[in-house]
Symmetry: C2
Subunit: 332 residues, 2 copies
């Protein structure tokens, strides 16, 4: 593999000159330029990012820690991150944690050893992970939180106002005349409490009672029976607010199997607006999260932080959701 020495020798100049040519900083005479260019091509020379990283103290790599790539939501966020980073000349190293605290801490450590210039961290948060984030922050590593927070640490972050989104989802249902509205959550996503607060507050504001019987949890334990449980409630719900689209789609399917028509007999609204939301039958009414924008914003915050370090004040960006009305909700 050709090195800068090979190029220098073949072009009859010093490595310093080749370096200046490569980085387009400092002067290089036209004559030298041409010879170097020719040598680079003849040798198929590609400068070593590793050596560069060592001497320049920046790798132009960033770490992205995600809970799961096999989830319709994450890849779109990652896409947004990569688009921005790619443009800025950075590579993204993606690490899966499976939502496990131990793996999160390990991912952070490994990425740090790799000397990434910064990191973007997605949920969920764990104690081990948080401790590691704190440690890295102390070491001066730029980090941006995406969709999660870590009280007490002055870190940049981007979040979606899911509370507001939940309120909007509820207002949509309320405006359609529903008064018995179920909330379906997922045991693993307990932390996403903004949605539940929005559900509660919207109900309260509408002067409706908060009935714990209308709170359901879709766990593997119960899988496939949420709807059954709903129907057993006296004065059963006429509408369902699901904490995410995946769950909403499962409920739609359960309804279909029992001959319950959506939205005629039951209205269902989801959350996220995953790619499939528009393709199910009936197309799902949902609260869209700005997935790509989330990623892009996080990337931009990180870039700014990498370039300015401590001199920049901490930024916390809050993005808003959007109600997408499709066919799964109707007047009661």
């Amino acid at each position: 593999m050709a090195t800068i020495y090979d190029v220098a020798r073949q072009a009859g100049v010093s490595i310093g000159t080749v370096s200046r040519f490569l980085n387009q900083n400092g002067y290089v005479s036209e004559a030298a330029r041409e010879r170097i260019q020719a040598a680079v091509e003849a040798l198929g020379f590609a400068p070593s990012g590793v050596a560069r990283g060592l001497s320049s103290k920046q790798t132009r790599m960033i770490g992205v820690v995600v809970p799961d790539l096999v989830n319709l939501f994450i890849p779109e966020v990652v896409r947004g991150i990569q688009d921005v980073m790619d443009n800025a000349g950075y590579c993204a190293v993606i690490y899966n944690t499976d939502g496990l605290g131990a793996r999160e801490a390990r991912a952070l450590k490994l990425l740090y050893e790799r000397r990434v210039d910064g990191m973007i961290l997605l949920p969920p948060s764990s104690e081990e992970g948080n401790a590691q984030i704190e440690e890295l922050h102390r070491q001066g590593l730029p980090q941006v939180l995406l969709g999660r927070d870590l009280p007490g640490l002055p870190l940049d972050s981007v979040t979606v106002d899911t509370y507001r989104g939940a309120v909007e989802a509820m207002q949509h249902l309320l405006a359609l005349g529903h008064t018995r509205i179920a909330f379906v959550s997922d045991r693993r996503l307990k932390r996403l409490s903004g949605r539940l607060s929005g559900y509660r507050d919207a109900l309260e504001q509408a002067g409706l009672p908060l009935d714990d019987e209308l709170l359901f949890e879709m766990s593997s334990m119960y899988k496939g029976t949420v709807l059954d449980r709903m129907l057993q409630v006296q004065d059963p719900p006429t509408a369902v607010f699901s904490m995410n689209d995946m769950i909403a789609i499962d409920v739609i399917q359960e309804a279909y199997q029992r001959g319950i028509k959506v939205p005629d007999h039951l209205s269902i609204i989801g959350f996220d607006d995953i790619t499939f939301a528009a393709s199910v039958q009936p197309p799902l009414t949902t609260i869209a999260q700005p997935k790509s924008l989330l990623g892009q914003t996080a990337a931009e915050l990180l870039l700014a932080r990498i370039e300015q370090k401590a001199s920049l004040p901490v930024q916390e960006v809050l993005l808003s959701c959007q109600l997408i009305v499709r066919m799964s909700t109707a007047r009661r």
Copy 2:
């Protein structure tokens, strides 16, 4: 940021000894061990992967070039790759090409500059990309092709026998008594021709005519009208073999909107078995691809290649598909 020099000084040994301790090769006295360990912890020392990479000439990073992360299929494959690589102590740098030849070539070049120890390359292939692959192969970089081939280059590869899968899909439909079977493809996926060949051969073997009128293309241009076009054929199809699940699901939705019952009036079979296939209504009969296994196998081939380089014979692994019968297909 602490370096190996800081650790050595604090522990009262030379950096060579610290290095030996870190890599657990060579002897280090018990006394030295303890002092070094203490110094490492006190300083929060994490050895620089960059410096390591430069001197050891291996970065323990691999590149993964994918067409698109926002596609139910890819993330699962990537997952399989990461699981294996992670275990072997490698990081995966993922690069998106959007299926664009120019971006593919660029991705390869950038990854090479980063001195990844090897790469796994997913479809589609492009001329620019192929030229770059050839160039890198000449430079001695280990590369594994996943789900694609590049005739003429002796590269390791893993592929799924989609031809066989297509034949099985067709045999399933034929066994149900269908004789007029449509094939729906996607303009962007023209290259995935194994499926089409399987469709044709199965028909031929069954002694059925090959009717070009039954070949449809789902392109954005026609989007939403495939079914309409199908119904205009005289003696219209009673079953549809779709080149992938996404398309199959779109067709199901179109059918639903026109009041055509699946599978009563029309049987539909997909390909891939994406996560959602089981969640649509009716649950989709499909040909499952071993997504995670594809990734794992590619990772294992690459690992072997990295360790043994040229001494290993070229390996070409062919994985098989599996028919998953659900509810979208029925007797004619």
